[in-house]
Symmetry: C2
Subunit: 314 residues, 2 copies
């Protein structure tokens, strides 16, 4: 179905119990694909090795009064910000801090309401105070599965380990795209003013932000808790008064939680044939649909996520 994307490495049977996302995938087996399957069929029938486990050290568990928001950190794209975020989570930096801003059709943002007041700001224990901008990285060597569909925002679009990525072969750079649920590090006027302590999640695709700010990950589950928060009525969607803030109960790395409490999520591998077939079900619709666009855009192509099935648990 997508022969240019098949890989030559062989997969051992032992990997059926789950693979981390960075491990290479074996060549897909050719499957008879008639009659066409629905997207749900493709996911339900995907072989276990087409899913990969999200590493507990890359999974941020944000607990709001409403529920949990699970964020996969994009270490490859923003290693220094991710290192800070891990340190802040380990030191319980966000516990009791707040969602400060919800701007409709744009972002939800959280952090320390007093961050700009040196006398009241919470110390960022374990985190570096100054980081470089991590807006893009070299395209060369990136395990990118390109989308064949045109992207108006960049010459190349595709996926790397489940993350939505745009790239420009001419500049040789690649970057994470601002699609729904993507999480970035708020910054001030200078490009190196983000530390990872103030984070935002996209309520909508806003690709105009690409290459302007450091993206650190994406929400895998629970994005609706942020998306359904009341919009702030102040400038840029900041809440007009602190009483309107939503308090963050805590943010932890999954790896810091007791084994039994860790969320066990899997992402459909971007380098699997199931991924290509799932994309094709977005381009060619069946069932209720009477027209198919023959196209899918990068932000509509969000890598499917599931709870790890019991058989994949240790």
């Amino acid at each position: 179905m997508a022969p240019h994307l098949q890989r030559s490495a062989l997969l051992s049977l032992a990997t059926l119990a789950g693979l981390l996302c960075a491990a290479p995938l074996a060549a897909a087996q050719t499957q008879a694909q008639k009659p066409p399957r629905t997207g749900a069929d493709v996911l339900a029938q995907a072989p276990a090795e087409h899913w990969c486990d999200v590493a507990p050290d890359n999974l941020l568990v944000m607990t709001l009064p409403q529920g949990r928001v699970l964020i996969e950190l994009a270490e490859r794209f923003a290693p220094q910000h991710v290192a800070n975020i891990r340190a802040l989570a380990r030191n319980h930096y966000w516990d009791g801090l707040s969602v400060l801003r919800v701007q409709d059709n744009y972002v939800a943002q959280w952090g320390d309401p007093n961050d700009e007041d040196a006398t009241k700001a919470r110390p960022k224990a374990g985190a570096r105070a100054k980081l470089p901008a991590e807006f893009s990285l070299p395209l060369a060597g990136l395990p990118l599965t390109p989308l064949r569909d045109v992207d108006g925002w960049a010459p190349v679009a595709g996926h790397v380990e489940g993350f939505q990525v745009a790239a420009n072969p001419q500049s040789g750079r690649a970057w994470l795209a601002h699609c729904y649920g993507v999480v970035g590090a708020g910054r001030g006027d200078t490009v190196d003013s983000s530390t990872g302590a103030e984070l935002y999640a996209m309520l909508t695709p806003a690709r105009g932000l690409d290459l302007n700010i450091t993206v650190v990950g994406r929400v895998l589950q629970g994005m609706h808790w942020l998306a359904a928060l009341p919009r702030g009525t102040g400038a840029m969607g900041f809440y007009a008064s602190p009483e309107q803030h939503t308090t963050i109960q805590h943010i932890r790395l999954s790896s810091s939680l007791p084994e039994a409490e860790r969320p066990r999520l899997q992402v459909l591998r971007s380098d699997s044939s199931s991924w290509q077939e799932w994309l094709q079900t977005r381009r060619q619709r069946g069932g209720w649909f009477v027209h198919s666009p023959g196209y899918v855009d990068l932000c509509s192509a969000s890598a499917p996520v599931r709870e790890a099935p019991p058989t994949a648990q240790p």
Copy 2:
């Protein structure tokens, strides 16, 4: 700035008090455009005749407990559905009915919870029980202001009287695009099963719905009230129990309201030079931004809306 879009008709001074969106606009005056203005500058400085009044008969005022949602009806694109919607509003059909479904990153939908139970369904007084699908209309003769930016979903994208439109010159058809805040008429499995009684608003762009359902308008103001509703936990985001529904206090046409209570909204004209200049501020960013995409996509190019200034009121 966009000479191919200028129109030759002359505008009389009398039109400074406001123009309906369907009236043709005069040729834009050439303006000196250095230094570059921000988007906010462009809107603040746009001449009065670059804005048009939304006709009271095209403005649906939906009152929720949280606040008002103002929807402009796209009569040109779905005349039969819009006629039904006007009749239903005049007959207070929606008063006391409900928001039934909020599916995260997709749609909010409202109507009669008992619509499928003939013994309990509310009668749709004044509305035709059967309408044809109004998915598209002829491109020929449509006052389309094309976007120069590529659209992956359709060969042509642009705006008609503030609405986001896609088109295919080969088929000769044009249609409203499913961008944020776009409102459509829910249907069942058959394409002619919508009446306009059950409506949905898009919480995100979902262009895959284009040409599959009748679009009837777009939210001009108050979309955040729908976007911040709790997500339904049933299949497809329907609420699991009626207690979770949001009650619609009433939906009225603005033209049915006393003059003093009518919202007075204006939309930036798609055929004005201010529109072209505003689009350009999206492609070439200044201020906080350090990178400009040189591009804007159809769904990011939502025609600006404002309250009519006092001078434009009668």
